[in-house]
Symmetry: C2
Subunit: 497 residues, 2 copies
């Protein structure tokens, strides 16, 4: 025991250090089963600590099985299994980092997914993030406090599978009024965002190796999630009517799941034509496959009313409609919903329980009251007006400062527009990287593409940028592009995503 030393600066209490030290000696084989320890009096004197401390440590280690006390004859090392662990156990922090577990190929592929790219940013011109600066924090906070104060205890527990009835009612009314959807409340599953809905669908309806058709360009996290679940993802281009069904039919094996964004193609912004919708529905019915309608931002339209959801055209129960509050409220709410044919709801709800339990009933209740008292509708109306004006400022700024590099047309819906590079041979990755190096967020169109090669373009999100910052930020975009595309920096290696 004389080798034992206290690390005075470790911030760990003396008794813990002694405990850990004795455990380590036993586990490392420096003390063996049956070895007798010094008496507590002796050890206390040697170490200059109180005898009671030593006694407490002996007691704890005896409970744990490391030591054995025989009344009257002393304290002995217990009959601890002979360790076959490496002689140098990297138990302290420095050494713990010394070993690095080698992740499998599968784990490395997961870690390399594009979907995690810089989720944290809310800077200009981050696509897909709403106007967090204008979020009605006060009203939301008040709704939260009300629920905390007077909500039933049950709201603090796990909540009913599939979601809180009150929130399902609010969602039913919302999709009826905004999306032309008629459904029963028991067709709705409240999910932890749209992404979870996609995963629930796949876990329930496909198996390893099932063919899934995804749009190309398309939603990155969807196809990465399908790959995580070992689906055979096939990439289908979009034409001016949307998802190119004919292409898919000719080139790919029949799908079990088809992911589409009919209201507002992600990221191109195309609205799927009525005929294309009907063809897709027809095909799904004939071949018994499922259409996942990802309706991620249909609340924000600046020209005309949206087409009703495809779900509203579906007469045979082949559409799974997915909505989200990440764009219409804020991403950190982590609530979305899945509207499903009746026969599948129980499976989706059970799969959700197994994935992560249900969505917090507390947050569901806050959201329900925010929706049912009209605050949600008012917020959407306000954001529609705000986004339209931010879009106009962005169009104006980009045309003014980057008009020689980019073709800019105002988008008719959503939260981003695409600036098409005038020089169709310019490298959009170089341009986007230059803009990002100058402190402005944006995404090159090609990161959404797998097989398709499109005219080079860059996505600029306008929703999350305060009006006052838009023009200055577009000036930075223009300068960075001038530098990158005319300043001889064409050779900058493209950033890896």
């Amino acid at each position: 025991m004389s080798t034992f030393r206290f690390a005075e600066s470790s911030g760990m209490p003396i008794y813990r250090q002694l405990e850990n030290g004795i455990r380590k000696m036993i586990l490392d084989g420096n003390l063996s089963a049956g070895d007798r320890l010094p008496s507590s009096r002796q050890l206390a004197t040697d170490l200059g600590i109180s005898r009671q401390t030593v006694k407490n440590v002996f007691e704890q280690l005896t409970i744990e099985g490391f030591l054995n006390s025989r009344r009257g004859s002393g304290t002995f090392v217990g009959d601890v299994a002979v360790m076959k662990l490496p002689p140098e156990m990297p138990r302290d922090r420095r050494r713990l980092n010394g070993y690095r577990v080698q992740p499998s190929k599968h784990a490395r592929a997961i870690a390399a997914t594009k979907a995690t790219t810089r989720l944290g940013s809310v800077a200009a011109f981050r696509p897909g993030v709403p106007a967090l600066d204008m979020f009605p924090r006060k009203a939301w906070s008040a709704a939260h406090s009300r629920v905390m104060r007077s909500g039933n205890d049950i709201l603090f527990s796990y909540g009913p599978p599939g979601g809180l009835p009150e929130l399902k009612r609010a969602i039913r009314l919302h999709v009826r009024d905004h999306r032309g959807i008629r459904c029963d409340e028991d067709q709705i599953v409240v999910t932890a965002g749209a992404q979870q809905a996609f995963v629930l669908i796949a876990l329930t309806l496909i198996k390893s190796g099932s063919v899934v058709w995804c749009e190309d360009p398309g939603h990155i996290a969807v196809r990465d999630a399908m790959r995580l679940l070992c689906a055979d993802v096939k990439h289908v281009p979009v034409d001016r009517h949307g998802f190119d069904l004919e292409y898919a039919r000719q080139r790919h094996p029949r799908a079990r799941l088809i992911f589409v964004t009919p209201s507002h193609q992600h990221p191109l912004g195309i609205t799927m034509s009525l005929n294309r919708r009907l063809e897709l529905l027809d095909s799904a019915q004939q071949h018994g496959c499922w259409i996942v309608e990802d309706d991620y931002d249909s609340e924000f339209r600046y020209a005309e009313r949206a087409l009703p959801a495809m779900q509203a055209l579906d007469g045979s129960g082949h559409v799974l409609y997915v909505g989200s509050f990440s764009k219409s409220l804020f991403p950190a709410l982590r609530i979305g919903y899945l509207i499903s044919p009746p026969g599948l709801v129980d499976a989706f709800a059970a799969a959700q329980t197994l994935l992560s339990q249900n969505v917090s009933p507390l947050q569901q209740q806050v959201l329900a009251s925010f929706m049912l008292d009209g605050s949600f509708n008012a917020h959407i109306r306000n954001m529609c007006t705000l986004y339209q004006s931010r879009r106009d400022l962005l169009v104006q700024g980009l045309r003014q400062h980057a008009g020689s590099f980019l073709d800019i047309e105002p988008c008719l819906a959503g939260m981003h527009l695409i600036g098409w590079l005038r020089d169709g041979t310019a490298n959009e990755l170089v341009a986007a990287e230059a803009i990002r190096s100058a402190g402005i967020d944006c995404l090159p169109l090609s990161i959404y593409c797998v097989e398709q090669v499109l005219r080079p373009g860059i996505l600029f999100g306008f929703a999350c940028v305060p009006d006052s910052e838009i023009n200055a930020a577009t000036r930075v975009v223009g300068a960075a592009m001038a530098d990158a595309l005319h300043g001889g920096r064409h050779n900058v290696p493209p950033r890896q995503h």
Copy 2:
């Protein structure tokens, strides 16, 4: 068009009804491509509505592609794809419920999982639910309001993959002080509860058909989740030292993942002995498999300090430690954590993004401040005292009112105890169902079992029951058991779980 009728009581605006009506006629084939519609003036007169309403509807349907307007010559049905949908489209609510999609065998198996059983209840004597009646709502609400008022916009967005640094720091300090775990903050992944951590582990480390060893009796949602992910689940009994490694080695193929609850076996309450822990670690290292240490309620101990976590004994990076705030705070928080060897963290964080995006950074921030200001520790201390006294009241009540049916010993940790049926041949399902029919929640031990047959027992949770209700509830338990076991009601069919 003369067949069109308004449903005055539908609550849907007139223009919507007209829109839907025309769409339906086209989709049903009652109006065909090229058919001419009555003029807006004519239709308005026929239907007794304003001409402007009709014009608006025509305009919307023209945008959608259902109609075609040729200036001067009228409005025509558009070139809508010939529908092969069933002639009777069940678009209205009544009919929507008319079709029922037949779920696949896989979907039905998911829907039948035991894990969803009555998640909503917080009544006496629900196991696994903390004292929601004593939760410091005010302090929590205040922390939430502070974050809402002054938190950075970024907290309202998606948050950094793996979790907020501030919360990871708070978790590191907590597990260091309470569980003897030394880790870097970047070994921590904040998850949407423990259940999500289990799923992340499986998605990253196993594939379809991989062997997973689970305790029997054991955590229901864990094994159901492993089955959902197509693992080959093998059931391993527990003896008085915990997980029976020898049994598993002899009967089952080598595992890739081993799920254990060493601190407090779920649901039996056994603490895994030191030697068993070391044998398990040794085995994991030799065979390159992973141990998932589910440390779900180790905060609540009434006799002695807990053994340090197995993770603290692990010198070679084979333990994945999973903790949760569902018991120590409240389930609706939906936050847990995974402490992993360094090499795997990126894969876990990426898998989480693909499953459901990250945990709400807003909620993470609230939790971090609740932990870092000492409120969390104080709460745990208070709950420890409270639960001990609730346990004592439960023991006293059950001995008094149900002592002729149940052997009752106070548990030394956790939030439930097991009442062992004195008559070892009595049917615990019948007894538990009788108690539940009398309005008292409880769970028969056998629902946690797969292959093992144990002495009949019933789980009674005491944490969530206000002190004042405990005695009365035990009286109901006694009466119900008397009725069921002595009253000739042995033939009541057991409830299906």
